[in-house]
Symmetry: C2
Subunit: 324 residues, 2 copies
């Protein structure tokens, strides 16, 4: 079973919720090692009532530090130490709710890229199970980067969604061939000739539709797309609540449907489907939300363990090799 | 009162729904002139029971033609003739549900840009009243283009939302200064020193929140953001319907809340808030959805008339001048 190194000090609610999340995961049978300030982590682990190994890390990286510089200078930071466990084979995966930039830097400098990978990318999972990548690691991309994202996203979809031949779409402003920026036009031509199940251009509105499994784009656009979806979902839930609250005569009906409403909320809650995958490095890396609760941390740990157990690294390596 | 030239032949449901939309608008007191094949339009107008003037146009531009070339070669197309009415002052505004590219080309070549405007942009209105621009006219932009979009978007928000000092935000992947691509970094610096009420970077999730009135970005990102929001909204409504349908014991409650649900659907329906504005040209130009129904056309006509009556062109001109 894969062992996952968990950054105990990263995230807005660290270390309390992080340790609590680790405890949940360990109770569910996962193999977790906590990395961070032993003096702070030990009492929390003690309180949790489960036994979790700790690897001490002297310092932490703050959200406001320059990530690349911090990873280079703070070799004893919790995220650097956790990444080193993966690099040295002591752990198969890494989970952190700390600075995304620091996780990216640790993955690049300490764990290292897989052979042939030009740019590791963040693959985020949408509530429908669709994978969007890159969703924030690479703001400016060249066509060959998008092509690699496609291969890595297909690997994620195979491992996590169990899809044999995931449908890969290129995010664009229209479905017709020839649409988009120079970036999309060139990437399209290469994807068309690739071994991937490339279905052509897809649009923002394909998010949420059963038309595509892997949505490929640059990290700026992917980030905006996913956060826009999040904003729209919140707005809609809020509007629905207001519309019902304005109709006191519907009090009984509103109360009756509340559980269905809560189930909807749960399904679209990023905490439910955990963090995002950084793919293209030599270990399974899951980037959890900064505000992660114990549930989110436990889900991120489960994702990382699944990636390790089901051969994500081999799948990505194979996908990149097949492009050549 | 502003007279609006309506492309009678543009759109998936032309000319039937277009004429029906014109009839609705005329009944509501608007001044509309239909442009297109008189032999086809006249009987439809006759059937509608209201009197609507027609300017004949011999040809139409197909969705699959190259827009710029079609506008130059088909001077007698409905969209070109409608644009000429605006250019010659016979009408103050133009509405078309035809090819967006053809509308852009007609606006650029026939109506012409306002002085100082480098690139006209499409400003789309989100259900909250927030304006996103550019949402598809300019896929690759320079910082100075984004700055002009900001000024034009603020003008739209003043005229349509009645806001005195609209909050202008730069779409980015984080709120902190220094985030984003070279494009955002440079545009940020100029916006900060502009006379606009620039509130800094905003994220995709600010769509739907009362944090910003005008969201500025390039046309590729804006298009993806808005279509992603559309997809997410559809998915959520669909999920809610399924969750309720799976619980037959909630039949009565579901029936009771149906009107609130329909009201929600109506509020987020693009047909309700009409089309998108092409700003930066010498006339009010509203681009309606290709699938526009009569209601959508009537709403787009109302938007165009409001823009004409409330001085949109002067507001945009003033906004661009104030940047210099």
């Amino acid at each position: 079973m894969s062992r996952i190194a968990l950054d105990g000090m990263g995230g807005d609610r660290a270390p309390g919720e992080i340790v609590a999340g680790a405890a949940l995961a360990v109770r569910n049978g996962l193999d977790v090692v906590l990395v961070g300030d032993k003096a702070r982590l030990d009492p929390l682990i003690e309180d949790s009532g489960v036994s979790i190994p700790v690897v001490h890390a002297e310092s932490t990286i703050d959200m406001h530090e320059d990530p690349a510089q911090a990873i280079r200078s703070k070799r004893d930071s919790s995220i650097a130490v956790a990444a080193r466990l993966v690099a040295e084979g002591e752990a198969q995966g890494l989970v952190s709710a700390g600075s995304t930039g620091a996780v990216l830097a640790a993955a690049a400098f300490i764990i290292g890229r897989l052979p042939g990978v030009a740019r590791p990318a963040i693959g985020s999972v949408y509530p429908t199970g669709q994978i969007v990548l890159d969703s924030g690691a690479n703001l400016e991309c060249r066509p060959e980067h998008l092509v690699q994202f496609a291969a890595m996203g297909a690997a994620l979809a195979r491992v996590y969604m169990g899809l044999e031949s995931p449908r890969v779409g290129l995010l664009n402003i229209g479905e017709e061939v020839g649409k988009g920026r120079e970036l999309e036009k060139q990437a399209y031509a290469v994807l068309e000739d690739s071994p991937l199940n490339f279905i052509g251009n897809v649009e923002g509105r394909d998010l949420g539709r059963d038309t595509v499994d892997v949505v490929v784009t640059d990290g700026f656009t992917g980030n905006v797309l996913l956060k826009g979806a999040e904003g729209t979902a919140s707005m809609l839930m809020q509007m629905m609540r207001s519309l019902l609250a304005e109709r006191p005569e519907l009090g009984d009906a509103t109360a009756a449907i509340a559980p269905a409403f809560e189930e909807l909320q749960r399904r679209i809650d990023p905490e439910t489907y955990g963090g995002a995958h950084l793919v293209g490095t030599g270990g399974v890396v899951v980037v959890a939300h900064g505000s992660s609760s114990r549930t989110a941390i436990a889900n991120a740990l489960r994702m990382a363990a699944e990636g390790g157990d089901h051969g994500l690294i081999d799948a990505v390596t194979f996908g990149i090799e097949a492009l050549a």
